[in-house]
């Protein structure tokens, strides 16, 4: 068990063994292991199959950039996640891990036939193959591609986990807790700033964990990490581990995803799984380090082939040797040290194969002292082994000529093609990059945000360089924030500085067209694919990327982008910066949907506004409908009624007795000030000067384009005080529009606006019995028709509650609207309901309200208008004050297209058979026999069955409609053509006699 574990080495907890399953088999590791480190400790390198060719793959790295070791993980019912990076996921007892993209098993996979046919699946294969015949696309190609696409299995159950989010403000946000980040956080926090330090790993330390031999100011690296973190915490620094900075947005807003429970075997049920942090930082320090690049050669993807730095990490962090018998192939000094560490730990290093002719003297000495064979000026040209590497083929390269091959047996191959500064977050800010020809890499250049880049992220190499740069950048950030900061200089011994060179694919003596030399491991893109893309005309890296899919997998090309660029640039014969680098986008690493959704699921998905009377409606069986953010009672079914039955009864009761309706959602704005009437005159189309206190008027609001925006009944309470009502959906927008005019155009007016929508509960009583019901409850006002005629308003007391009482009707019946403070809304409703029983009262909902108003020809803004309808079009030009000097929309109404003939105008429609109910939204034509496509001349905006009229009624917007009254229009429907007469819009009580009871 754990044959490859070195007792006493690494940071796992040997006293806490952990067992989990991999493809059903129990695997043991220790607390602190990742899935990968535990598998490697057991000698298991084969962890998955590749996306396209189903090639056997193992972990190629030890970090979040892993392209190969993607597995399914299951933590419990509904808690399955595909494509978990095995190099990141910590193990706990009971974790279920499954390999992906294989059938029937990981070691024998039928899909691997793709690998033998690899010559067919070159870049652009899909574009070329599935072009013809065209008819095959829907039935054959598209379903085939769909089933083949995607890696892993999508979860099919509801996710039972909780997700959370928070806002955080900090002076300095340091991203990455390696040497540079730790030193930066120390500098900034010692200067007295609020500092937040985040790292995606379970513990701080970064590279220092893999370099335990380093001594910093006389303290061994691991001890230095512990004491530094302790000091940071004592200085009040928020140190957040398992926290990935996923995106860097405008004005130093950084998104963090903190993983809280994925590493726990039995987390508290109220604990969220992940928490999204929206951080606003005054200064950001990016200390993300550098990522190691693979070398590109035939067979560089076989299980057992791994980045040298990662092998060093497995050894020092987890105490795991990745093999017994290693060959190192490198173009960078760092891999030599990895080889030394492994050799010292007991792994046989067959050879260090360096592409460079003359490795540094001290490296050669180090290798010789360990009796390691040195092959300098060599290339790797192939590997052997089915499910694990068995040998590597190497050749000397002399004066550009590839010499005779030699085969070295091995069970693992450690490669290093150098290091790429991690500039993903910097790239999110649209910061400019500059090409460093010496280092053959991009470095950060012009900044667009308040940030600094420290350490290996800007091309510095070695622990001392990273520490000192971090300290300096922390001090820069502190000084920018007007703090005094000292530039700490660290004394570092046993630092391993070094250099390297960069390559395209390594030279080979074999046919390069047949080499399976992988650049993008996750998307199975080879060097050959990239060269083919260039040959086929892709000359920008953006085109090459899309044609080959290089760098387009979920790892965003962390390993592949630079190798891909080098090869494309070489194929084009241009320097790299002329070919360009693709843009990195958030998130930095794959992030769960849950983290983004946060609390907004289930009952908390979005705001549902409820009126004070909503609870009564619910208790009385109302069926609700959403109206903007509100939920409103749509109808109140009784004795198993369906909607039509309920609406028919509610309409009849209201017209014959009395109905009550919860109108609390109507927007309400209080307008106060000596210039209130002038403001009203300018805002609404109607004249207001002569409206006496105690009277109300229908108000019509236009946009400055002349189109109808809103309407409502407006009461004048006193000379200087108006009570405006708006439509339910537009209340906030109307108030904003008014404030906008007041604050920008009419600053001279002494008038103020206050939203009172929610202060008032509004109960509408309509019907011939409305006065009889209400009268006994009203104190301070005679509500007879003489004393309180239609369109009156008064402040009085209703059922003991302070009230604003309107005499108004949206049904055509005798009507009142009682406004009382919202806290009394339900009590008043109950009082009126109880008292109304003797008058045969019913509660009605929005559906009945719609029918009753349509019978009377009252429009609903937003249903019978759509933002292109003028008052003339809607037939309500009587609401325009013709003699007023100005109002919002007056000049808009004079535009030529608004006064032209042939505009769509609101008309009534009666289907000629007297029975057919039109469908809202149905299109109108003048000639049903014309060829398709027919000329459409309008559409139905409202349509209901009307008991009062005894037939269906409808409104429509019809081209030149006002002149077509009496004509016939046709409504072609799937079942056949319906014919309808064009009429006026008032279907019931055209003289309005019922209002005047």
């Amino acid at each position: 068990m754990n044959l490859f574990r070195i007792p006493g080495q690494g940071r796992v907890d040997p006293t806490t063994p952990v067992e989990f399953t991999f493809d059903g088999k129990t695997v043991s590791g220790y607390k602190g292991d990742t899935i990968t480190s535990a598998l490697l400790a057991n000698g298991i390198h084969l962890m998955g199959r590749s996306f396209k060719y189903h090639r056997p793959r193992g972990a190629v790295c030890a970090g979040s950039e892993e392209p190969n070791a993607l597995v399914g993980t299951r933590r419990g019912a509904g808690q399955f996640e595909p494509n978990t990076r095995a190099t990141v996921q910590e193990i706990w007892s009971g974790l279920e891990v499954t390999s992906q993209n294989r059938y029937p098993s990981l070691s024998f996979d039928i899909g691997a036939v793709n690998d033998r046919a690899y010559m067919l699946f070159s870049a652009g294969f899909y574009y070329k193959t599935f072009m013809w015949p065209k008819s095959f696309w829907d039935k054959v190609y598209e379903p085939f591609i769909r089933s083949a696409a995607g890696l892993g299995v999508s979860p099919s159950e509801n996710d039972p986990d909780k997700y959370a989010s928070r806002y955080l403000h900090t002076d300095v946000l340091v991203i990455g807790a390696g040497p540079a980040g730790l030193a930066a956080a120390l500098s900034a926090s010692r200067a007295g700033l609020r500092v937040t330090l985040v790292d995606e790993n379970p513990e701080a330390g970064g590279t220092l964990i893999s370099e335990p031999q380093t001594i910093i100011d006389g303290v061994p690296a691991w001890q230095w990490i512990d004491q530094t973190v302790a000091e940071l915490i004592s200085l009040g620094v928020r140190v957040m581990t398992r926290t990935t900075a996923i995106g860097y947005y405008h004005q130093n807003m950084v998104g963090l995803c903190e993983k809280l429970t994925d590493h726990l075997s039995s987390p508290n049920a109220n604990m969220p799984r992940e928490r999204l942090w929206r951080v606003r930082a005054r200064q950001v320090i990016l200390a993300q380090g550098a990522l190691e690049k693979p070398l590109v050669f035939d067979g560089n993807d076989r299980p057992g082939v791994m980045l040298a730095g990662s092998a060093q990490t497995y050894l020092n962090k987890y105490g795991v040797r990745v093999g017994n018998n290693a060959v190192v192939v490198t173009s960078h000094d760092s891999a030599w040290y990895a080889a030394f560490d492994l050799a010292d730990a007991g792994t046989k290093i067959q050879a260090i194969v360096d592409t460079r002719a003359e490795p540094a003297v001290e490296l050669v000495a180090g290798a010789k002292s360990r009796s390691i064979r040195i092959l300098s000026g060599y290339s790797a040209t192939g590997t052997q082994g089915r499910l694990r590497i068995k040998s590597v083929r190497i050749n000397p390269v002399i004066n550009g000529k590839v010499g005779a091959p030699e085969t070295l047996e091995c069970d693992c191959l450690l490669m290093s093609g150098g290091w790429t500064p991690s500039l993903h977050l910097f790239s999110h800010t649209k910061g400019a990059l500059t090409w460093d020809a010496d280092m053959q890499t991009f470095l950060p250049d012009r900044k667009t945000e308040d940030c600094e880049i420290a350490g290996a992220g800007r091309g510095l190499w070695g622990i001392a360089a990273a520490l000192n740069d971090g300290a300096a950048m922390g001090a820069v950030a502190a000084r920018t924030l007007d703090k005094v900061a000292t530039n700490t200089v660290y004394d570092v011994t046993n630092d391993r500085v070094g250099t390297g060179v960069s390559h395209t694919e390594l030279p080979t003596d074999l046919d390069p067209g047949k080499a399976r030399a992988f650049v993008d491991f996750q998307n199975d893109v080879t060097a050959k694919d990239l060269r083919l893309a260039v040959r086929e005309g892709m000359h920008s890296i953006e085109h090459v990327k899309r044609y080959t899919t290089n760098g387009m997998a979920t790892d965003q090309g962390k390993m592949s982008n630079m190798n891909g660029l080098n090869i494309a640039a070489d194929a084009l014969g241009k320097p790299q910066p002329k070919v360009g680098l693709t843009t990195f986008r958030p998130p930095y690493t794959p992030t769960s949907f849950g983290a983004f959704v946060g609390y907004h699921r289930g009952d908390h998905f979005d705001v549902t506004r409820k009126t004070p009377i909503d609870s009564w409606a619910e208790e009385n069986g109302a069926v609700f409908e959403p109206v903007s953010m509100w939920r409103r009672a749509r109808y109140f079914p009784q004795n198993g009624e369906d909607m039509d039955g309920a609406v028919s009864r509610e309409c009849k009761t209201t017209r014959s007795a009395v109905g009550m309706f919860d109108a609390s959602t109507l927007g309400k704005i209080e307008i106060v000030g000596p210039d209130a009437v002038e403001f009203m005159n300018r805002m609404y189309t109607n004249p207001w000067t002569k409206l006496a206190p105690g009277r109300t008027r229908y108000g019509l609001l236009l946009g400055d384009d002349g189109f109808i925006r809103d309407d409502g009944v407006i009461g004048r309470l006193s000379t200087d005080r108006f009570h405006i009502t708006t439509t339910t959906g537009r209340a906030a927008r109307v108030l904003n529009m008014m404030e906008d005019y007041l604050q920008t155009e009419w600053t001279d007016l002494k008038v103020w606006l206050t939203s009172t929508t929610e202060h008032w509960a509004t109960i509408a009583l309509n019907g011939p019995n409305a006065r009889k019901l209400l009268e006994p409850f009203v104190e301070g006002q005679d509500i007879s028709d003489q004393a309180f005629p239609h369109m009156s308003i008064v402040e009085c007391t209703v059922a003991g509650f302070p009230a604003r009482l309107f005499r108004v009707s949206f049904t055509g019946e005798l009507g009142f609207e009682v406004n009382v403070p919202a806290c009394h809304g339900r009590a008043l409703w109950q009082t009126l309901w109880d008292a109304g029983q003797q008058y045969g009262i019913c509660a009605y909902g929005t559906e009945t309200m719609h029918v009753l108003r349509a019978e009377k020809g009252y429009i609903i803004v937003g249903q019978d208008t759509d933002g292109t309808v003028t008052p003339y079009d809607a037939g309500i030009s009587w609401a325009i004050g013709k003699t007023k000097p100005d109002f919002v929309g007056k000049r808009g109404l004079e535009r030529p297209d608004l006064v032209a003939d042939g505009r769509k105008q609101l008309v009534g429609l009666l289907t000629q058979d007297g029975k057919t109910l039109l469908e809202e939204g149905a299109q109108l034509v003048l000639d049903a026999n014309q060829p398709i496509p027919m000329k459409m001349v309008g559409h139905v905006t409202s349509s209901y069955h009307s008991d009062a009229v005894g037939r269906p009624i409808a409104f429509a917007l019809l081209e030149n409609g006002h002149n077509r009254v009496g004509e016939t229009v046709y409504i072609p429907m799937p079942e056949g053509v319906i014919s309808a007469d064009v009429t006026g819009t008032v279907f019931y009580d055209p003289d309005g006699a019922r209002l005047k009871l």
Binding site: K162, A164, S165, R166, Y167, L168, H169, R194, N268, A269, N270, M271, P272, R278, R280, Y599, D603, H604, V607, T608, R609, K610, T611, P612, D614, S615, W630, E670, V672, G673, P674, D720, K750, V751, W752, T754, S755, T756, T757, E758, H759, W760, P821, A822, C823, H824, R826
Partner: protein, 183 residues
């Protein structure tokens, strides 16, 4: 954890060591709007010096005022005091035009107290709570809903929420309390 009633019955909603949340009893609440030049006259009339820095608060006996904008204040006081306030303002209206509008029933208030109060607010409020001094406040949002936040102490806050949005906001507050308790 107690459920919020549809009638908004005042009382404790969450009790705990980390944070407790209560729905407070109703108060009289007004929106006051006026021009800067008229601040002294109105201050004299209502008996409280209107603060002029946005977010600043002033108190006198039962009256509390927060400055919400350059021409906007929120006033709250005991229900018994509201008539005095209305009459005081009405008396000077002819000389000093302004708007005093009753919004008592427009919103409800919850109190949030305890060592977890700041963390709890951070789940929905994008403001830097550390920068809101004790005895001041601000109009802000909580989970996208417009609210007025009062800071009464290091770990004591009040949050005014429009009625129809209150169940949404309080629901999230309760979720947050459970989350904080689990930490």
């Amino acid at each position: 954890m107690m459920a919020l009633t549809p009638e908004f019955t005042p009382g404790q909603l969450v009790s705990g060591d980390v944070v407790s949340v209560s729905l407070m009893a109703p108060v009289a609440r007004f929106s006051l709007r006026l021009r800067a030049a008229d601040i002294p006259a109105v201050s004299t009339a209502i008996g409280v010096d209107l603060p002029t820095r946005i977010g600043a608060c002033a108190h006198h006996e039962t009256v509390e005022v927060m400055c919400l904008g350059p021409d906007e204040w929120q006033i709250q006081t005991d229900a018994n005091d509201s008539v005095r306030l209305i009459n005081a303002c009405a008396a000077i209206y002819a000389q000093v035009p302004h708007s005093l509008t009753d919004i008592s029933a427009r919103e409800v208030t919850i109190s949030i107290e305890g060592p977890g109060a700041v963390d709890l607010l951070s789940i929905g409020c994008p403001r830097d709570i550390d920068k809101i001094a004790i005895g001041t406040g601000c109009r802000t949002v909580f989970d996208g809903v417009s609210t007025v936040l009062w800071r009464d102490g290091e770990t004591r806050f009040r949050l005014d929420i429009w009625r129809s949005f209150a169940p949404h906001v309080i629901g999230l507050i309760q979720t947050g309390c459970a989350e904080l308790a689990a930490q």
